[in-house]
Point group: C2
Chain length 228, copies 2
Amino acid sequence: MDRLFQSIKISVNDKIFVKDPESSALGKTIVEESISMIHEMGFDKFTFKKLGDRIGSNESSIYRYFENKHKLLLYLASWYWGWLEYQLVFATNSIADAAKKLDKAIEIVTQTTEEDSSFSHINEVLLNKIVIHEYSKSYLTKEVDKENREGYFEIYKRLVNRISEMIAAADRDYPYPSSLASTVLEGSLHQHFLLDHFSSLTDCLEHTDPTHYLKHLVFNSLNLPTNG
Amino acid sequence: MDRLFQSIKISVNDKIFVKDPESSALGKTIVEESISMIHEMGFDKFTFKKLGDRIGSNESSIYRYFENKHKLLLYLASWYWGWLEYQLVFATNSIADAAKKLDKAIEIVTQTTEEDSSFSHINEVLLNKIVIHEYSKSYLTKEVDKENREGYFEIYKRLVNRISEMIAAADRDYPYPSSLASTVLEGSLHQHFLLDHFSSLTDCLEHTDPTHYLKHLVFNSLNLPTNG
DNA sequence: TATGATATGATAGTATTACTATTATATTTG
DNA sequence: CAAATATAATAGTAATACTATCATATCATA
């Protein structure tokens, strides 16, 4: 990916933050260093106090950007899914054939993020690892319905729906396009997690990977036209 | 299910607890009421102090059974997976045909737990809901590798492996039996969660359910003998 | 039934977390 | 240069997640 992305801003629901972290140097530092710290110590042990110490700033200043660390996680996750959605649309836009389009889509959303590409202060490689290890915590809460109503998961849902539509486009008769789309996204995160921590529970080692597994899963579920 | 189960004890790795909660009335109360409280308020807001108040016991007494609430969650999860493994083996043991055995297995592990069956102080219906909403939190931690080495996830892994072996028995050439088995378990929890909180992301509503979806997914991934 | 062992309860105390509030000091902008 | 705004510093609170100690209740057995 190239400089094109530098001029593109991933827009996150502005109810997630108190003050847009993109609007100041401190805000960007908060986002940048929180990614690095959450990756290092895990979300559970991460606190605004520790982040303040690390960036030479005050805890109270961080609260001016995010209500609490849960909202910060929602922000990082939304940003990540928005970024991935952008990659997805960019990479599949020109593909006319429904099956090929879906194939490419699965590739984009299931592969390991390899390079810190383009957005200056956000390290997508680390962010991808954070999403694998922490994303579930953003919705496995008692407040999930309220937060869903407030639109905090919109970007993720939009991404699932895009994939769902691609599945439906490839096979109009397939009865579970949304479930399958959510399985691709969530299953990809899970397989990547297993690879790191429970390798006996996955086959995505050595000569294969989550992308191959999930392509196999999806394309065997669908009835494709014989020339596809 | 009937009284047979009342004489069967699900055995959980004894490093998970300080003192076996099955060994005393207080221990059983701790387990029973923690299930009810975690279901009500969610694992994050649940504390030993609150549990002590609820059962008319002291916080310090609870610490004599479990080091912390994380270990209690590991205990509840292990118990649940052990219980499910038992259901699985019991229900599939007599089935000779590999495909039919697998079909039954998927049914057992993906269906909603319907009745509080047999183990006096443990409500499996609530426990099933807790597992859906909280299980990921037991392994999405920085200590996962250490705890895995200590055997805290053995029962879950054994269950995945049983399903993996059933998949392999139904189709020796299928390249991803472990990944698919883990997708069935984790995907089932996820679909049930979506059903409750993100119904637009699943098709498992009304005329279908996670069981149908996952059976479709698995059996379309496999090449079965034509008479199966 | 007395004696000791074990289980449980009560109380206190600590460090950390997750904030809120207030005031002071930079920095930016008009 | 003044006013507005952003950030920093400090203090304080309630809750969390424990640990330690001591008291009391129960239970097991000689």
